[in-house]
Each structure stands twice: as structure tokens, then as C-alpha cells.
């Protein structure tokens, strides 16, 4: 006898509401949130202070995946232990952050700075052009070294310690090691940026400059230098996010990673409210948890696995209808 859809949905609801299932969905949601917060955090910092929509942000993430992955591939051998692999990850994170921050700073000084007095469309077109150049450059280099640009870099994936591929059970809740690692790294990065913004004088300067850069300048603050620092910081965070994704088989280091990360990053930034880091973190949590919930439903109950990715865009539409400036958005940012 054919089962009524309503009955099967109620069964699925019962299964979903079990503590073990809810726990798994929350862990998966938090790991997605950590990734989203990292790929969107730099984007929102840059937009918040400078009013620049950086279309090159995804490419910077992709560069981070390759450069950080390169450090891991060079450092990690088959006999390298778990602790050493994890330690090398953090070394690679520092390298990826430094290199991408330097590249971001150079892009800001050399290309974007001359356009601050022009309408925003100039900066959008410029960063879009930078994306094309960076992606093509990556494609050429990756191809030169015999790798497939559109396939995930398996050598970088292979440096991941086995403990991150295993599942662990706590109080009946099963969690993947990589998901837990992503939560830890995401929390560390978000915490570091949060601490920088709220506990340091430079962070205070960034927040003030985001609100009224002319007034900040009149208080003796070199806002242009702050712009460079924040662009470098945003690019560096993108680099670390890219490195983290190089270990995640759902993403992986590949040239298309640039576009794959840019879209959800924009979604999170817009939902949170353009230019607010706090809003971006909360939006990442919301998007991550909704994504994980819908993934569970579409895989276990509705059996239509292509739909979960669409749910974050539906969420975007919903937020834009209800609160067009985003959940924590202000009327205007980047008032330079």
C-alpha cells in the first residue's frame, strides 16, 4: 500500500526531533556557519569600512586554498603524525594569511585607492577584473604543474589527518571530526577578529571609520592607511578560510572554488546587513543552521538532494523582503 505523504512527513518529523538527530544537525550547521563566517567575514569588513564590494574575495579564498595547501603538501609526508599535521595546518594558516594579506594590501594600494573618488561601479568593475586575472593566473599555474584546475587538489586533501575523517559520538550525537575542526577554527578566527574590533584601539578606529571616515580623518586618523590594513586583513581571513576548505571534500582546492565561495559569502553578508561584522556572524549561524536543517530534510525525508543549496538563496529573498537592509544592517556604510 502506498504510504500517505503526510504520514511519511510525520515520521520524518519524529525522527528529526530526536535529540541525536537534532544534535547532528546543529553540529553540521555550526560547521557550515564557521565556514560561511570565515568566507564572508573579510568581505564584510572591507565593505563596512570602504564601501567596496570586493568581487575578488572568492579568488583570494581560492588562492588561500592553493597556497596554504602547498605548504601542507610540502610539509606533510606519509609518516607525519596527527599532531604534526594539525600543527602544520596552523603554520600554513599563518603563511596563507600573510601572503594573502600582502596581496590584498597591494591590490588596495595599487588598484583600488586611485578609484575612491569615483562612483562605486568603478570599484566593482575593477575587482571583477581582478577576479578574472587571478582566476586565469591560478589556472595557468595549476595547469603548468600538471594539476586539473577544475578538480579538487587531492594531494592537499590527502594531508588531512585521519582523525578528521572519522566520526565521534558524544551523548548519542554523532559528529564528524572535520566538522568539529571547522567549528574550532571558525570560532578562533571570528573570536580573533571580534577581539581586534572591540578590544584594540585600531579596532575602534576601524569601527569609527566604517561609520564616518571623514570625521575619523578629522580626529587625526589616517583613514587611507586603515583602508589598506582592513583590506589586507579581509584578504588574509579569506586566505585562512581557503586553507580550511582545502581539507573539506565538499569544497576542496580548485579554481572554481573562487566562484563557489563568492556567492554564499555575498548571501551571508547581505542577510547580516552589508558591512556589519556582528551581523555577518549571526547571519552565518542562521544560514548554516538553516542549510544543515534543510539538507537533513531533503536527504532523509524529501529525497531531493539538489534543493538544500537553494534554501540559502530562498532565505536571502525572504530576509530582503522582510528587512531589506539585512538583519543588522544600517542605512549607509562606507561614507568616504
Amino acid at each position: 500500500m502506498m504510504e500517505l505523504p503526510l504520514v511519511s512527513m510525520l515520521d520524518a518529523l519524529g525522527q528529526f526531533l530526536r535529540p541525536s538527530t537534532l544534535g547532528e544537525v546543529v553540529v553540521n550547521g555550526l560547521s557550515k556557519a564557521a565556514v560561511y563566517a570565515m568566507i564572508a567575514g573579510g568581505l564584510t569588513l572591507i565593505f563596512g569600512l570602504m564601501g567596496v564590494l570586493n568581487f575578488a574575495h572568492g579568488s583570494l579564498t581560492m588562492f588561500g586554498a592553493y597556497l596554504g595547501g602547498l605548504v601542507l603538501v610540502l610539509a606533510v609526508g606519509q609518516t607525519t603524525g596527527v599532531a604534526a599535521r594539525l600543527a602544520y595546518f596552523f603554520v600554513a594558516a599563518v603563511v596563507a594569511f600573510g601572503l594573502l594579506a600582502a596581496l590584498g594590501g597591494a591590490i588596495e594600494v595599487g588598484l583600488i585607492r586611485p578609484l575612491y573618488d569615483r562612483p562605486p561601479i568603478y570599484q566593482i568593475l575593477l575587482t571583477f577584473g581582478v577576479t578574472l586575472v587571478l582566476d586565469e593566473l591560478a589556472r595557468i599555474v595549476v595547469d603548468f604543474y600538471g594539476l586539473q584546475p577544475i578538480s579538487d587538489w587531492q594531494a592537499a586533501l590527502g594531508t588531512k589527518p585521519g582523525v578528521l575523517s572519522s566520526s565521534y559520538e558524544f551523548a548519542g550525537v554523532s559528529a564528524n571530526g572535520l566538522a568539529l575542526f571547522e567549528i574550532v577554527v571558525g570560532a578562533l578566527v571570528v573570536g580573533a577578529v571580534w577581539g581586534f574590533l572591540t578590544r584594540t584601539r585600531y579596532g575602534l578606529v576601524v569601527r569609527a571609520g566604517s561609520e564616518d571616515s571623514e570625521m575619523a580623518e578629522a580626529l587625526g586618523i589616517d583613514v587611507r592607511r586603515v583602508f589598506t590594513t582592513v583590506f589586507a586583513l579581509g584578504a588574509g581571513i579569506a586566505g585562512v578560510a581557503g586553507l580550511l576548505l582545502a581539507w573539506d571534500p565538499k569544497w576542496g582546492a580548485s579554481v572554481p572554488l573562487a566562484a563557489e565561495t563568492l556567492l554564499p559569502a555575498f548571501v551571508v553578508v547581505i542577510i547580516g546587513g552589508l558591512g556589519t561584522f556582528r551581523g555577518t556572524v549571526y547571519a552565518a549561524l542562521l544560514v548554516g543552521l538553516v542549510d544543515a536543517t534543510m539538507t537533513w530534510w531533503f536527504v532523509n525525508a524529501i529525497q531531493f538532494s539538489a534543493l538544500p543549496e537553494m534554501t540559502i538563496f530562498l532565505l536571502l529573498v525572504l530576509v530582503l523582503i522582510v528587512k531589506p537592509q539585512g538583519l543588522f544592517g544600517v542605512a549607509e556604510v562606507g561614507g568616504h
Binding site: R201, L204, V205, R207, A208, E211, D212, E214, M215, A216, E217, A218, L219, G220, I221, D222, V223, R224, V330
Partner: protein, 245 residues
């Protein structure tokens, strides 16, 4: 009071600020058409005139927020034209802008701390601000955007006070405030003036004359007259004609 003809150049004795024949434009609009004025150390100088005659633009020109195309702005004898605004500020020129422009998302304490010199003591800055404006001390952790208009003006003045400035450019401090609050603001400015030189743009003529030692009257982007600031100025027919034209 001097002759109604515009002065050709500021008195260039040992003035703290000398503005000489400054021409400033917004796009192709010629706003300042050769403004000259000077401010001596310890003075309060009022810049008066109708709306749109170039008072705010004069302050912005001194700060290099809107850089003059011609003319000279000297502070302690050093040229400011061509310098970045942050460099002008670091040399000791502070700004209390029109409409306050406090950082609304920052707390009261953060607004004060950011105005203190980077190499200074932020706690000392807070103490100075809160001693001068006790009302602010009651809400140090409140978002500046949540303050009343009068409290925001106090905060804007406090920001100028703690900035270790030798000259404060004060733009329309009484604008949009209730009469009782205007009196508080006037008292606050008088306190600040004991320590700092002020160039004050103010539409409220009695308030300006009460605070100032001298005044300049601007019309159509030029200084048309200047003189000692006395209560008699408010009744001067020529001045009233310029202000009401």
C-alpha cells in the same frame, strides 16, 4: 568696527591661524572667493553670516576636507594647504562639526577615547571629559546614537576637548537645540575657551557675540567686515542687513 570693504589679507602678525585669499570650489561652484582672516592664540573668533555664504566651507578649507584651489592657510606659520586632513588634525586643529557627527554605533566612552591622542592616556581623556560634562559620565557605555541632541553636542565638544587641540573649529553648536540646552552648550564652550583657541561658526548672533572676542562677517564667499565682538554688534544695522538679506 572696520570699514565694510573686505580686508585684502589677514593680519599676519603672530597669529595662530592665518587664512589668506582662499578660493574654494565644490565642483565648478566657486564658494569662497578670497577669504582672509586670522585667529590669535587664546582668542575666540566668530564667523557669522547667512546660510550658504561659505562659513562651513571656510572651516572645511582650514581642515583640508575641501581643499582650497588658491590661497594660503597657515597654522603656527606652517602651510596646511596640500596636507592631508589627518595631518592637519595631528598638528592641533580640532573640529566640532555641524550636526555633531558623533559615532552613533560607538559608546560614549569610545567616542571620547578615539578622540584622545594615540600616544596619550585614554583614562585621563575620559576623566577630563567626564569632569567637564558630568551628564556624560552617567552613561559611559550608552551608544552615542541613543543620546539626546544636547548630550550628543556635549559629547562632540568633549571630543574636541580631549584631542589636545590648540585650535578648535566649532560649527553651529546651537543648531537644532532647545534654548535651555543652548545655554548649557554655551557654558561648555566658555569652559573649553579657557584652554583652547576657538574659531566659531554660529547663526545665533547673541550667543556668538557673548562667546567671541572678535568676529568676521561673511557674505557671498568673502569677508565683508570684521571687528570686536560686543553686544552692540547685534543691533548694528549694517550687520543685520547682511544677516537678513
Amino acid at each position: 568696527m572696520s570699514d565694510a570693504d573686505a580686508p585684502e589679507a589677514a593680519d599676519t602678525g603672530d597669529a595662530l591661524l592665518e587664512v589668506a585669499d582662499v578660493h574654494t570650489y565644490y565642483g565648478e561652484s566657486h564658494i569662497l572667493e578670497g577669504v582672509s582672516l586670522s585667529v590669535d592664540e587664546g582668542e575666540v573668533v566668530a564667523l557669522i553670516g547667512r546660510n550658504g555664504v561659505g562659513k562651513t566651507t571656510t572651516l572645511r578649507s582650514v581642515l583640508q576636507l575641501t581643499a582650497p584651489r588658491e590661497g594660503s592657510v597657515r597654522f603656527r606659520g606652517e602651510e596646511l594647504v596640500g596636507e592631508a586632513t589627518n595631518e592637519v588634525a595631528r598638528r592641533g586643529v580640532g573640529w566640532i562639526p555641524e550636526e555633531r557627527r558623533v559615532f552613533s554605533q560607538l559608546t560614549v566612552a569610545e567616542n571620547v577615547r578615539i578622540a584622545a591622542p594615540a600616544d596619550g592616556d585614554p583614562d585621563a581623556a575620559l576623566e577630563l571629559a567626564f569632569d567637564t560634562f558630568p551628564a556624560l559620565a552617567e552613561r559611559p557605555d550608552a551608544k552615542a546614537g541613543a543620546l539626546s541632541g544636547g548630550q550628543q553636542q556635549m559629547l562632540a565638544i568633549a571630543r574636541g576637548l580631549v584631542g589636545d587641540n590648540d585650535l578648535l573649529l566649532v560649527d553651529e553648536p546651537s543648531e537644532g537645540l532647545a534654548p535651555q540646552i543652548v545655554a548649557d552648550v554655551a557654558r561648555a564652550l566658555a569652559t573649553v575657551a579657557e584652554e583652547t583657541t576657538l574659531l566659531l561658526v554660529e547663526q545665533n548672533l547673541p550667543l556668538a557675540m557673548d562667546l567671541a572676542d572678535r568676529f568676521y562677517l561673511l557674505d557671498n564667499g568673502q569677508v565683508v567686515t570684521d571687528g570686536e565682538a560686543t553686544s552692540g554688534v547685534t543691533d548694528d544695522e549694517e550687520i543685520r542687513r547682511y544677516l537678513s538679506a
